[in-house]
Protein backbone atom coordinates (compact mmCIF):
# COMPACT_ATOMS: atom_id res chain seq x y z
CA UNK A 1 0.00 0.00 0.00
CA UNK A 2 1.28 3.51 -0.83
CA UNK A 3 1.77 5.79 2.10
CA UNK A 4 -0.27 8.97 2.08
CA UNK A 5 2.75 10.93 3.27
CA UNK A 6 6.41 10.07 3.29
CA UNK A 7 8.43 12.87 4.75
CA UNK A 8 12.18 12.59 5.02
CA UNK A 9 14.41 15.06 6.80
CA UNK A 10 12.17 17.98 5.86
CA UNK A 11 13.69 21.36 6.65
CA UNK A 12 12.54 24.94 6.40
CA UNK A 13 14.35 28.00 7.63
CA UNK A 14 13.30 31.63 7.66
CA UNK A 15 16.60 33.41 7.99
CA UNK A 16 17.99 32.35 11.34
CA UNK A 17 14.75 30.72 12.44
CA UNK A 18 14.57 26.99 11.82
CA UNK A 19 10.84 26.34 11.45
CA UNK A 20 11.32 22.68 10.49
CA UNK A 21 14.51 20.95 11.50
CA UNK A 22 14.69 17.54 9.87
CA UNK A 23 11.13 16.27 10.16
CA UNK A 24 10.67 12.64 9.10
CA UNK A 25 7.20 11.09 9.17
CA UNK A 26 5.18 8.39 7.48
CA UNK A 27 1.42 8.62 7.35
CA UNK A 28 -0.17 5.37 6.13
CA UNK A 29 -2.98 5.55 3.60
CA UNK A 30 -6.37 5.46 5.28
CA UNK A 31 -5.09 6.48 8.70
CA UNK A 32 -6.30 9.25 10.97
CA UNK A 33 -3.11 11.05 11.86
CA UNK A 34 -2.75 13.85 14.37
CA UNK A 35 -0.07 16.50 14.40
CA UNK A 36 0.26 18.05 17.83
CA UNK A 37 2.56 20.79 18.88
CA UNK A 38 2.67 24.07 20.75
CA UNK A 39 2.47 27.42 19.03
CA UNK A 40 5.31 27.85 16.58
CA UNK A 41 6.21 24.16 16.52
CA UNK A 42 6.09 24.20 12.71
CA UNK A 43 2.69 22.56 12.08
CA UNK A 44 1.42 25.18 9.64
CA UNK A 45 4.77 25.36 7.87
CA UNK A 46 4.67 21.58 7.47
CA UNK A 47 1.20 21.64 5.93
CA UNK A 48 2.01 24.65 3.76
CA UNK A 49 4.94 22.80 2.22
CA UNK A 50 2.66 19.91 1.25
CA UNK A 51 0.26 22.17 -0.66
CA UNK A 52 2.87 24.45 -2.20
CA UNK A 53 2.39 27.61 -0.16
CA UNK A 54 5.85 27.33 1.40
CA UNK A 55 9.04 26.15 -0.30
CA UNK A 56 11.08 23.63 1.62
CA UNK A 57 14.71 24.37 2.36
CA UNK A 58 15.69 20.70 2.21
CA UNK A 59 14.56 17.12 2.55
CA UNK A 60 11.81 15.32 0.70
CA UNK A 61 8.03 15.32 0.93
CA UNK A 62 5.95 12.79 -1.01
CA UNK A 63 2.14 12.79 -1.18
CA UNK A 64 0.95 9.36 -2.31
CA UNK A 65 4.38 8.96 -3.87
CA UNK A 66 4.32 12.33 -5.67
CA UNK A 67 7.04 14.81 -4.82
CA UNK A 68 5.51 18.12 -3.72
CA UNK A 69 7.88 20.10 -5.96
CA UNK A 70 8.81 18.00 -8.96
CA UNK A 71 5.37 16.37 -9.26
CA UNK A 72 3.40 19.14 -7.61
CA UNK A 73 0.27 18.82 -9.74
CA UNK A 74 -0.41 15.21 -8.75
CA UNK A 75 0.50 15.93 -5.14
CA UNK A 76 -1.86 18.91 -4.89
CA UNK A 77 -4.64 17.06 -6.67
CA UNK A 78 -4.64 14.47 -3.91
CA UNK A 79 -5.01 17.01 -1.10
CA UNK A 80 -8.03 18.82 0.29
CA UNK A 81 -6.99 21.49 2.76
CA UNK A 82 -9.14 23.24 5.36
CA UNK A 83 -6.76 25.87 6.71
CA UNK A 84 -7.22 27.73 9.95
CA UNK A 85 -7.34 31.10 8.19
CA UNK A 86 -10.36 32.11 6.12
CA UNK A 87 -8.64 32.46 2.74
CA UNK A 88 -11.82 32.43 0.67
CA UNK A 89 -12.74 34.21 -2.56
CA UNK A 90 -15.14 36.94 -1.45
CA UNK A 91 -16.32 37.97 -4.91
CA UNK A 92 -18.64 35.03 -5.49
CA UNK A 93 -21.47 33.23 -3.68
CA UNK A 94 -20.16 30.23 -1.85
CA UNK A 95 -21.56 27.61 -4.25
CA UNK A 96 -19.59 29.24 -7.06
CA UNK A 97 -16.45 29.35 -4.96
CA UNK A 98 -16.77 25.58 -4.57
CA UNK A 99 -17.48 25.10 -8.27
CA UNK A 100 -14.35 27.07 -9.12
CA UNK A 101 -12.24 25.06 -6.68
CA UNK A 102 -13.53 21.83 -8.19
CA UNK A 103 -12.84 23.18 -11.68
CA UNK A 104 -9.24 23.99 -10.77
CA UNK A 105 -8.92 20.30 -9.98
CA UNK A 106 -10.10 19.38 -13.47
CA UNK A 107 -13.72 18.60 -12.60
CA UNK A 108 -16.02 19.70 -15.45
CA UNK A 109 -18.60 22.42 -14.74
CA UNK A 110 -21.66 20.13 -14.66
CA UNK A 111 -20.10 17.74 -12.18
CA UNK A 112 -18.56 20.59 -10.18
CA UNK A 113 -22.02 22.01 -9.65
CA UNK A 114 -23.30 18.71 -8.27
CA UNK A 115 -20.27 18.28 -6.05
CA UNK A 116 -20.59 21.81 -4.70
CA UNK A 117 -24.21 21.18 -3.75
CA UNK A 118 -23.29 17.85 -2.13
CA UNK A 119 -20.45 19.39 -0.13
CA UNK A 120 -22.67 22.21 1.13
CA UNK A 121 -25.39 19.73 2.11
CA UNK A 122 -22.85 17.57 3.87
CA UNK A 123 -21.73 20.40 6.14
CA UNK A 124 -25.28 21.69 6.58
CA UNK A 125 -25.14 25.08 4.86
CA UNK A 126 -26.79 24.31 1.52
CA UNK A 127 -29.53 26.86 2.21
CA UNK A 128 -26.80 29.54 2.28
CA UNK A 129 -25.42 28.56 -1.13
CA UNK A 130 -26.17 31.91 -2.75
CA UNK A 131 -24.62 33.90 0.09
CA UNK A 132 -21.15 35.33 -0.03
CA UNK A 133 -18.63 34.09 2.49
CA UNK A 134 -18.51 37.38 4.40
CA UNK A 135 -22.18 37.08 5.29
CA UNK A 136 -21.88 33.67 6.94
CA UNK A 137 -21.73 33.32 10.71
CA UNK A 138 -18.46 32.19 12.30
CA UNK A 139 -19.60 28.58 12.62
CA UNK A 140 -20.87 28.53 9.03
CA UNK A 141 -17.56 29.89 7.83
CA UNK A 142 -15.79 27.02 9.52
CA UNK A 143 -18.24 24.58 7.96
CA UNK A 144 -17.61 26.13 4.56
CA UNK A 145 -13.86 25.64 4.94
CA UNK A 146 -14.53 21.93 5.38
CA UNK A 147 -16.87 21.90 2.36
CA UNK A 148 -14.20 23.51 0.19
CA UNK A 149 -11.71 20.86 1.24
CA UNK A 150 -14.23 18.11 0.46
CA UNK A 151 -15.48 19.33 -2.90
CA UNK A 152 -12.56 17.74 -4.76
CA UNK A 153 -13.09 14.44 -2.93
CA UNK A 154 -9.47 14.34 -1.81
CA UNK A 155 -7.54 11.23 -0.90
CA UNK A 156 -5.82 13.20 1.86
CA UNK A 157 -7.88 15.64 3.90
CA UNK A 158 -5.79 18.11 5.90
CA UNK A 159 -7.58 19.91 8.72
CA UNK A 160 -5.57 22.68 10.34
CA UNK A 161 -7.09 23.47 13.74
CA UNK A 162 -10.63 22.80 12.43
CA UNK A 163 -12.37 23.21 15.76
CA UNK A 164 -10.62 26.36 16.89
CA UNK A 165 -13.28 28.76 18.14
CA UNK A 166 -16.30 26.64 17.27
CA UNK A 167 -19.13 25.63 19.54
CA UNK A 168 -19.61 22.17 21.00
CA UNK A 169 -22.32 21.12 18.55
CA UNK A 170 -20.26 22.03 15.52
CA UNK A 171 -17.23 20.32 16.98
CA UNK A 172 -19.20 17.10 17.42
CA UNK A 173 -20.68 17.38 13.93
CA UNK A 174 -17.19 17.86 12.61
CA UNK A 175 -15.89 14.84 14.48
CA UNK A 176 -18.73 12.70 13.12
CA UNK A 177 -18.08 13.89 9.59
CA UNK A 178 -14.33 13.29 9.57
CA UNK A 179 -14.75 9.93 11.28
CA UNK A 180 -17.19 8.90 8.54
CA UNK A 181 -14.81 10.10 5.83
CA UNK A 182 -11.95 8.21 7.41
CA UNK A 183 -14.06 5.05 7.59
CA UNK A 184 -14.75 5.48 3.87
CA UNK A 185 -11.01 5.45 3.19
CA UNK A 186 -9.96 9.10 3.24
CA UNK A 187 -6.66 9.68 4.98
CA UNK A 188 -6.97 12.47 7.53
CA UNK A 189 -4.17 14.70 8.78
CA UNK A 190 -5.36 16.77 11.73
CA UNK A 191 -3.52 19.49 13.58
CA UNK A 192 -5.12 20.57 16.78
CA UNK A 193 -4.60 22.22 20.12
CA UNK A 194 -7.43 20.17 21.59
CA UNK A 195 -5.69 17.12 22.98
CA UNK A 196 -9.05 15.48 23.62
CA UNK A 197 -9.77 15.76 19.92
CA UNK A 198 -6.56 13.96 18.97
CA UNK A 199 -7.08 11.36 21.67
CA UNK A 200 -10.60 10.66 20.52
CA UNK A 201 -10.04 10.64 16.75
CA UNK A 202 -6.48 9.75 15.84
CA UNK A 203 -4.96 6.33 15.23
CA UNK A 204 -1.55 7.85 15.56
CA UNK A 205 -0.16 11.21 16.57
CA UNK A 206 3.14 12.97 16.04
CA UNK A 207 4.27 15.54 18.55
CA UNK A 208 6.17 18.36 16.97
CA UNK A 209 8.28 20.75 19.00
CA UNK A 210 10.56 23.50 17.73
CA UNK A 211 10.46 22.05 14.25
CA UNK A 212 11.34 18.50 15.32
CA UNK A 213 9.30 15.35 15.78
CA UNK A 214 9.69 14.32 19.40
CA UNK A 215 7.31 11.34 19.33
CA UNK A 216 5.16 9.33 16.94
CA UNK A 217 2.81 6.77 18.45
CA UNK A 218 -0.82 5.96 19.09
CA UNK A 219 -2.45 8.09 21.81
CA UNK A 220 -2.68 4.98 24.02
CA UNK A 221 1.00 4.16 23.59
CA UNK A 222 1.94 7.72 24.36
CA UNK A 223 -0.14 7.71 27.51
CA UNK A 224 1.65 4.51 28.53
CA UNK A 225 4.88 6.47 28.61
CA UNK A 226 3.63 8.69 31.41
CA UNK A 227 3.24 8.04 35.12
CA UNK A 228 -0.13 7.38 36.78
CA UNK A 229 -1.07 8.54 40.27
CA UNK A 230 -2.58 6.04 42.76
CA UNK A 231 -4.12 7.87 45.71
CA UNK A 232 -5.18 5.76 48.72
CA UNK A 233 -6.97 6.95 51.83
CA UNK A 234 -6.43 4.72 54.89
CA UNK A 235 -8.77 4.39 57.83
CA UNK A 236 -5.98 5.49 60.16
CA UNK A 237 -2.52 6.91 59.64
CA UNK A 238 0.05 4.08 60.18
CA UNK A 239 2.29 4.19 63.25
CA UNK A 240 5.27 3.36 61.04
CA UNK A 241 5.39 3.72 57.30
CA UNK A 242 5.90 0.33 55.62
CA UNK A 243 8.21 -0.32 52.66
CA UNK A 244 5.97 -0.83 49.65
CA UNK A 245 6.52 -2.08 46.11
CA UNK A 246 10.18 -2.70 46.77
CA UNK A 247 12.17 -3.45 43.62
CA UNK A 248 9.42 -2.46 41.18
CA UNK A 249 11.20 -0.16 38.72
CA UNK A 250 7.88 1.20 37.45
CA UNK A 251 7.48 3.14 40.68
CA UNK A 252 8.72 6.72 40.55
CA UNK A 253 7.75 7.96 43.99
CA UNK A 254 5.77 7.13 47.14
CA UNK A 255 4.49 9.96 49.29
CA UNK A 256 2.79 9.75 52.68
CA UNK A 257 0.54 12.45 54.04
CA UNK A 258 -0.94 11.27 57.34
CA UNK A 259 -3.63 8.78 56.28
CA UNK A 260 -3.12 9.43 52.59
CA UNK A 261 -0.71 7.55 50.33
CA UNK A 262 0.22 8.71 46.83
CA UNK A 263 2.12 6.37 44.55
CA UNK A 264 3.39 7.71 41.24
CA UNK A 265 4.20 4.93 38.80
CA UNK A 266 3.95 3.83 35.20
CA UNK A 267 1.22 1.24 34.54
CA UNK A 268 -0.61 2.27 37.70
CA UNK A 269 -3.52 -0.06 36.93
CA UNK A 270 -1.20 -3.08 37.02
CA UNK A 271 0.58 -2.01 40.18
CA UNK A 272 -2.58 -1.24 42.20
CA UNK A 273 -3.51 -4.88 43.11
CA UNK A 274 -0.01 -5.55 44.47
CA UNK A 275 -0.15 -2.33 46.43
CA UNK A 276 -3.54 -3.22 47.93
CA UNK A 277 -2.27 -6.69 48.95
CA UNK A 278 0.84 -5.22 50.61
CA UNK A 279 -1.20 -2.68 52.57
CA UNK A 280 -3.57 -5.45 53.63
CA UNK A 281 -0.65 -7.56 54.86
CA UNK A 282 0.48 -4.58 56.92
CA UNK A 283 -2.98 -4.45 58.49
CA UNK A 284 -3.82 -1.09 57.00
CA UNK A 285 -7.47 -0.60 56.15
CA UNK A 286 -8.23 1.14 52.86
CA UNK A 287 -11.30 3.39 52.78
CA UNK A 288 -10.84 4.89 49.32
CA UNK A 289 -8.61 4.43 46.30
CA UNK A 290 -8.31 6.38 43.06
CA UNK A 291 -6.10 5.82 40.03
CA UNK A 292 -5.51 8.90 37.91
CA UNK A 293 -4.28 7.90 34.48
CA UNK A 294 -1.82 10.17 32.74
CA UNK A 295 -3.60 12.26 30.19
CA UNK A 296 -2.27 12.79 26.71
CA UNK A 297 -2.21 16.45 27.58
CA UNK A 298 0.26 15.83 30.39
CA UNK A 299 2.44 13.78 28.07
CA UNK A 300 2.20 16.53 25.50
CA UNK A 301 3.23 19.21 27.99
CA UNK A 302 6.06 17.05 29.29
CA UNK A 303 7.41 16.30 25.82
CA UNK A 304 7.19 19.88 24.66
CA UNK A 305 8.70 21.22 27.90
CA UNK A 306 5.85 23.52 28.76
CA UNK A 307 3.52 23.60 25.81
CA UNK A 308 3.69 27.39 25.89
CA UNK A 309 6.15 30.21 25.47
CA UNK A 310 7.52 28.88 22.24
CA UNK A 311 9.60 30.90 19.84
CA UNK A 312 8.63 31.74 17.22
CA UNK A 313 4.95 32.01 18.02
CA UNK A 314 2.16 30.92 15.68
CA UNK A 315 1.87 34.49 14.58
CA UNK A 316 5.60 34.59 13.84
CA UNK A 317 5.21 31.42 11.85
CA UNK A 318 2.30 32.83 9.91
CA UNK A 319 4.14 36.04 9.21
CA UNK A 320 7.06 34.07 7.89
CA UNK A 321 4.76 32.04 5.72
CA UNK A 322 2.78 34.95 4.32
CA UNK A 323 4.43 36.80 1.46
CA UNK A 324 2.61 40.04 2.26
CA UNK A 325 1.33 41.54 5.46
CA UNK A 326 -2.42 41.67 5.76
CA UNK A 327 -4.70 43.79 7.84
CA UNK A 328 -6.99 40.85 8.37
CA UNK A 329 -9.81 43.00 7.14
CA UNK A 330 -10.42 41.36 3.78
CA UNK A 331 -11.60 44.63 2.32
CA UNK A 332 -13.59 44.48 -0.87
CA UNK A 333 -11.83 46.86 -3.20
CA UNK A 334 -12.71 46.42 -6.81
CA UNK A 335 -11.05 47.66 -9.94
Amino acid sequence: MTNALEITNLRKSYGDVQALDGVSLTVPEGSFFGLLGPNGAGKTTFISILVGLVRKSGGEALVFGHDVETDYRAARDAIGLAPQEFNVDRFFPIHEVLEHKAGYHGIPAAEARVRAADALKRVGIYDKRNTRFDWLSGGMKRRFMIARALVTEPELLILDEPSAGVDVQLRRDLWDLVTELNEQGTTILLTTHYIEEAERLCDEVAILDSGRVVAVASPEALKGRGADHITIHLHNAPHSRPQLLVGDDRVESIEWNDDQLIVTAREGGLIAPTLVRELDREGLEIVDMEIARTSLEEIFVEMTHSGVDRTPSDQDEKEHAAPIATDGGHGERTQ
Partner: protein, 269 residues
Protein backbone atom coordinates in the same frame (compact mmCIF):
# COMPACT_ATOMS: atom_id res chain seq x y z
CA UNK B 1 -24.19 24.88 -16.75
CA UNK B 2 -23.98 27.77 -19.18
CA UNK B 3 -23.79 27.53 -22.95
CA UNK B 4 -20.18 28.70 -22.74
CA UNK B 5 -19.39 25.90 -20.29
CA UNK B 6 -20.93 23.38 -22.68
CA UNK B 7 -18.95 24.83 -25.56
CA UNK B 8 -15.73 24.74 -23.55
CA UNK B 9 -16.38 21.13 -22.58
CA UNK B 10 -16.21 20.21 -26.28
CA UNK B 11 -12.79 21.82 -26.71
CA UNK B 12 -9.43 20.42 -25.59
CA UNK B 13 -9.03 23.33 -23.15
CA UNK B 14 -7.79 22.06 -19.78
CA UNK B 15 -10.70 22.34 -17.31
CA UNK B 16 -8.58 24.01 -14.63
CA UNK B 17 -7.29 26.67 -17.01
CA UNK B 18 -10.79 27.30 -18.37
CA UNK B 19 -12.24 27.58 -14.87
CA UNK B 20 -9.68 30.10 -13.66
CA UNK B 21 -10.09 32.17 -16.84
CA UNK B 22 -13.87 32.10 -16.43
CA UNK B 23 -13.61 33.07 -12.77
CA UNK B 24 -11.39 36.02 -13.64
CA UNK B 25 -13.70 37.23 -16.42
CA UNK B 26 -16.86 36.83 -14.32
CA UNK B 27 -15.26 38.92 -11.58
CA UNK B 28 -15.29 42.05 -13.71
CA UNK B 29 -18.20 41.30 -16.03
CA UNK B 30 -20.53 41.16 -13.02
CA UNK B 31 -19.36 44.55 -11.84
CA UNK B 32 -19.93 46.83 -14.84
CA UNK B 33 -20.19 49.91 -12.62
CA UNK B 34 -16.62 49.31 -11.49
CA UNK B 35 -15.14 48.09 -14.72
CA UNK B 36 -16.96 49.41 -17.79
CA UNK B 37 -18.76 52.57 -16.67
CA UNK B 38 -15.60 54.56 -15.73
CA UNK B 39 -13.86 54.24 -19.14
CA UNK B 40 -17.18 54.97 -20.84
CA UNK B 41 -17.72 58.21 -18.92
CA UNK B 42 -14.06 59.26 -19.09
CA UNK B 43 -13.88 58.81 -22.83
CA UNK B 44 -17.11 60.66 -23.48
CA UNK B 45 -15.41 63.54 -21.64
CA UNK B 46 -12.15 63.10 -23.60
CA UNK B 47 -13.94 63.13 -26.94
CA UNK B 48 -16.08 66.08 -25.91
CA UNK B 49 -13.32 68.29 -24.54
CA UNK B 50 -10.23 67.28 -26.52
CA UNK B 51 -12.02 66.25 -29.68
CA UNK B 52 -14.95 68.60 -30.08
CA UNK B 53 -14.01 71.74 -28.12
CA UNK B 54 -10.21 71.83 -28.56
CA UNK B 55 -10.35 69.93 -31.85
CA UNK B 56 -12.23 72.80 -33.46
CA UNK B 57 -9.23 75.05 -32.78
CA UNK B 58 -6.59 72.47 -33.78
CA UNK B 59 -8.20 71.64 -37.09
CA UNK B 60 -6.73 68.68 -38.99
CA UNK B 61 -3.67 66.52 -38.32
CA UNK B 62 -2.29 64.23 -41.04
CA UNK B 63 -5.31 65.09 -43.09
CA UNK B 64 -8.06 64.03 -40.65
CA UNK B 65 -10.10 65.94 -38.04
CA UNK B 66 -8.28 66.13 -34.70
CA UNK B 67 -10.97 64.08 -32.94
CA UNK B 68 -10.41 61.25 -35.42
CA UNK B 69 -6.65 61.56 -34.97
CA UNK B 70 -6.90 61.01 -31.20
CA UNK B 71 -9.40 58.11 -31.42
CA UNK B 72 -6.75 55.34 -31.79
CA UNK B 73 -4.69 56.75 -28.93
CA UNK B 74 -7.65 56.89 -26.58
CA UNK B 75 -8.56 53.32 -27.44
CA UNK B 76 -4.99 52.23 -26.69
CA UNK B 77 -4.95 54.22 -23.44
CA UNK B 78 -8.18 52.62 -22.16
CA UNK B 79 -7.35 49.12 -23.35
CA UNK B 80 -3.86 48.84 -21.90
CA UNK B 81 -4.78 50.57 -18.64
CA UNK B 82 -7.59 48.11 -18.04
CA UNK B 83 -5.55 45.08 -19.07
CA UNK B 84 -2.77 46.12 -16.72
CA UNK B 85 -5.04 47.08 -13.84
CA UNK B 86 -7.10 43.92 -14.06
CA UNK B 87 -4.16 41.54 -13.92
CA UNK B 88 -2.28 43.46 -11.25
CA UNK B 89 -5.34 44.06 -9.08
CA UNK B 90 -6.66 40.53 -9.31
CA UNK B 91 -3.35 38.97 -8.33
CA UNK B 92 -2.56 41.49 -5.63
CA UNK B 93 -6.06 41.40 -4.13
CA UNK B 94 -5.86 37.60 -4.07
CA UNK B 95 -2.52 37.81 -2.31
CA UNK B 96 -3.75 40.47 0.11
CA UNK B 97 -6.78 38.43 1.15
CA UNK B 98 -4.95 35.14 0.61
CA UNK B 99 -7.69 33.62 -1.55
CA UNK B 100 -5.13 33.17 -4.31
CA UNK B 101 -4.26 30.12 -2.20
CA UNK B 102 -7.33 28.46 -3.73
CA UNK B 103 -5.53 28.60 -7.06
CA UNK B 104 -2.02 27.97 -5.80
CA UNK B 105 -2.98 24.82 -3.91
CA UNK B 106 -4.71 23.40 -6.99
CA UNK B 107 -3.18 21.12 -9.61
CA UNK B 108 -3.01 23.83 -12.29
CA UNK B 109 0.40 24.18 -13.91
CA UNK B 110 2.13 27.51 -13.37
CA UNK B 111 1.86 28.21 -17.10
CA UNK B 112 -1.90 27.63 -16.98
CA UNK B 113 -2.27 29.94 -13.99
CA UNK B 114 -0.32 32.74 -15.66
CA UNK B 115 -2.12 32.51 -19.00
CA UNK B 116 -5.51 32.43 -17.31
CA UNK B 117 -4.69 35.74 -15.62
CA UNK B 118 -3.22 37.21 -18.81
CA UNK B 119 -6.04 36.19 -21.15
CA UNK B 120 -8.82 37.30 -18.82
CA UNK B 121 -7.16 40.67 -18.24
CA UNK B 122 -6.42 41.09 -21.94
CA UNK B 123 -10.07 40.35 -22.69
CA UNK B 124 -11.13 43.15 -20.36
CA UNK B 125 -8.73 45.46 -22.20
CA UNK B 126 -10.29 44.49 -25.52
CA UNK B 127 -13.83 45.01 -24.21
CA UNK B 128 -12.93 48.48 -22.94
CA UNK B 129 -11.24 49.21 -26.27
CA UNK B 130 -14.46 48.28 -28.07
CA UNK B 131 -16.50 50.52 -25.73
CA UNK B 132 -14.21 53.48 -26.38
CA UNK B 133 -14.26 52.80 -30.11
CA UNK B 134 -18.06 52.71 -30.05
CA UNK B 135 -18.22 56.05 -28.21
CA UNK B 136 -15.70 57.60 -30.58
CA UNK B 137 -17.33 56.28 -33.72
CA UNK B 138 -20.77 57.46 -32.54
CA UNK B 139 -19.56 61.02 -31.81
CA UNK B 140 -17.27 61.37 -34.82
CA UNK B 141 -19.78 59.90 -37.27
CA UNK B 142 -22.57 62.12 -36.06
CA UNK B 143 -20.52 65.34 -35.94
CA UNK B 144 -17.80 64.94 -38.58
CA UNK B 145 -17.42 61.98 -40.91
CA UNK B 146 -17.63 58.19 -40.98
CA UNK B 147 -14.71 56.50 -39.19
CA UNK B 148 -12.62 54.46 -41.61
CA UNK B 149 -11.00 51.11 -40.78
CA UNK B 150 -8.34 50.94 -43.47
CA UNK B 151 -6.45 47.90 -42.18
CA UNK B 152 -8.69 45.72 -40.02
CA UNK B 153 -6.07 42.98 -39.75
CA UNK B 154 -3.48 45.37 -38.31
CA UNK B 155 -6.08 46.93 -36.05
CA UNK B 156 -7.01 43.55 -34.55
CA UNK B 157 -3.43 42.32 -34.41
CA UNK B 158 -2.16 45.43 -32.63
CA UNK B 159 -5.06 45.47 -30.19
CA UNK B 160 -4.57 41.82 -29.28
CA UNK B 161 -0.82 42.13 -28.89
CA UNK B 162 -0.89 45.27 -26.77
CA UNK B 163 -3.56 44.02 -24.36
CA UNK B 164 -1.67 40.75 -23.95
CA UNK B 165 1.56 42.69 -23.34
CA UNK B 166 0.02 44.91 -20.69
CA UNK B 167 -1.87 42.09 -19.06
CA UNK B 168 1.50 40.31 -18.80
CA UNK B 169 3.05 43.42 -17.29
CA UNK B 170 0.09 43.59 -14.89
CA UNK B 171 0.92 40.10 -13.63
CA UNK B 172 4.42 41.33 -12.78
CA UNK B 173 2.90 44.38 -11.09
CA UNK B 174 0.53 42.23 -9.04
CA UNK B 175 3.41 40.07 -7.85
CA UNK B 176 5.75 42.96 -7.07
CA UNK B 177 3.23 45.15 -5.23
CA UNK B 178 3.32 45.12 -1.46
CA UNK B 179 0.49 47.59 -0.99
CA UNK B 180 -2.51 48.96 -2.91
CA UNK B 181 -0.61 52.25 -3.21
CA UNK B 182 2.01 50.44 -5.30
CA UNK B 183 -0.66 49.57 -7.86
CA UNK B 184 -1.86 53.17 -8.04
CA UNK B 185 1.72 54.37 -8.39
CA UNK B 186 2.47 52.00 -11.27
CA UNK B 187 -0.58 53.23 -13.14
CA UNK B 188 -0.29 56.93 -12.42
CA UNK B 189 3.45 57.46 -12.51
CA UNK B 190 4.59 54.96 -15.13
CA UNK B 191 1.77 53.89 -17.40
CA UNK B 192 -0.10 57.18 -17.82
CA UNK B 193 2.94 59.42 -18.56
CA UNK B 194 4.16 56.95 -21.16
CA UNK B 195 0.75 56.99 -22.84
CA UNK B 196 0.42 60.76 -22.77
CA UNK B 197 3.90 61.12 -24.30
CA UNK B 198 3.13 58.35 -26.77
CA UNK B 199 1.76 60.60 -29.50
CA UNK B 200 -1.86 60.10 -28.55
CA UNK B 201 -2.76 63.78 -28.72
CA UNK B 202 -0.12 65.02 -31.19
CA UNK B 203 1.75 63.91 -34.29
CA UNK B 204 5.40 62.95 -34.11
CA UNK B 205 5.92 65.22 -37.11
CA UNK B 206 5.01 68.21 -34.91
CA UNK B 207 8.00 67.54 -32.66
CA UNK B 208 11.56 68.75 -33.06
CA UNK B 209 13.94 66.05 -34.39
CA UNK B 210 15.43 65.58 -30.91
CA UNK B 211 12.05 65.14 -29.20
CA UNK B 212 10.91 62.89 -32.00
CA UNK B 213 13.97 60.65 -31.49
CA UNK B 214 13.34 60.58 -27.74
CA UNK B 215 9.70 59.71 -28.33
CA UNK B 216 10.72 56.72 -30.41
CA UNK B 217 12.17 55.20 -27.22
CA UNK B 218 8.66 55.12 -25.82
CA UNK B 219 6.97 51.78 -26.64
CA UNK B 220 3.56 53.48 -26.54
CA UNK B 221 4.42 55.34 -29.71
CA UNK B 222 4.49 52.07 -31.62
CA UNK B 223 1.23 50.88 -30.15
CA UNK B 224 -0.67 54.08 -30.86
CA UNK B 225 0.93 54.27 -34.28
CA UNK B 226 -0.07 50.69 -35.07
CA UNK B 227 -3.70 51.12 -34.05
CA UNK B 228 -3.84 54.43 -35.90
CA UNK B 229 -2.54 52.63 -38.97
CA UNK B 230 -5.36 50.13 -38.57
CA UNK B 231 -7.98 52.90 -38.57
CA UNK B 232 -6.52 55.56 -40.85
CA UNK B 233 -3.98 53.68 -42.96
CA UNK B 234 -1.34 56.26 -42.03
CA UNK B 235 1.75 55.24 -40.08
CA UNK B 236 4.66 57.31 -38.85
CA UNK B 237 6.63 54.15 -37.95
CA UNK B 238 6.73 50.85 -39.90
CA UNK B 239 3.72 48.87 -38.54
CA UNK B 240 5.24 45.46 -39.29
CA UNK B 241 8.35 46.24 -37.29
CA UNK B 242 6.19 47.62 -34.46
CA UNK B 243 4.03 44.52 -34.42
CA UNK B 244 7.02 42.19 -34.37
CA UNK B 245 8.73 44.08 -31.54
CA UNK B 246 5.55 44.22 -29.45
CA UNK B 247 4.81 40.53 -30.02
CA UNK B 248 8.36 39.68 -29.00
CA UNK B 249 8.04 41.83 -25.88
CA UNK B 250 4.79 40.03 -25.00
CA UNK B 251 6.44 36.62 -25.23
CA UNK B 252 9.35 37.80 -23.08
CA UNK B 253 7.15 39.35 -20.36
CA UNK B 254 4.78 36.37 -20.27
CA UNK B 255 7.78 34.07 -19.88
CA UNK B 256 8.96 36.20 -16.97
CA UNK B 257 5.47 35.85 -15.44
CA UNK B 258 5.67 32.06 -15.61
CA UNK B 259 9.17 32.10 -14.16
CA UNK B 260 8.03 34.29 -11.26
CA UNK B 261 5.10 31.97 -10.56
CA UNK B 262 7.38 28.94 -10.62
CA UNK B 263 9.69 30.66 -8.17
CA UNK B 264 6.70 31.61 -6.07
CA UNK B 265 7.74 35.26 -6.11
CA UNK B 266 5.32 37.18 -3.91
CA UNK B 267 3.16 34.06 -3.65
CA UNK B 268 5.01 31.58 -1.49
CA UNK B 269 7.79 31.74 1.02
Amino acid sequence: MSAIDRLAARTPLPVGFYTLTKREILRYVRRPKNTFAPPLITNILYFSVFGVVLGARVGEIIGVPYILFILPGLIVLGAISNAFENASFSIFHGRWNEYIHETLTSPLSYTQMVWAYIISAAFRGLLVGVIIAAVGVAIISSLYQPVPVENPFYLMAFMIVIVLLFASLGVVGGLLATDFDDLTMMNQFILRPLVFFGAVFYSLNDLTPLLRDISLLNPMVYMVNGVRYGFLGVAEVDPNLSLAVLAGATVVVASIDVWLFKRGYGLTD
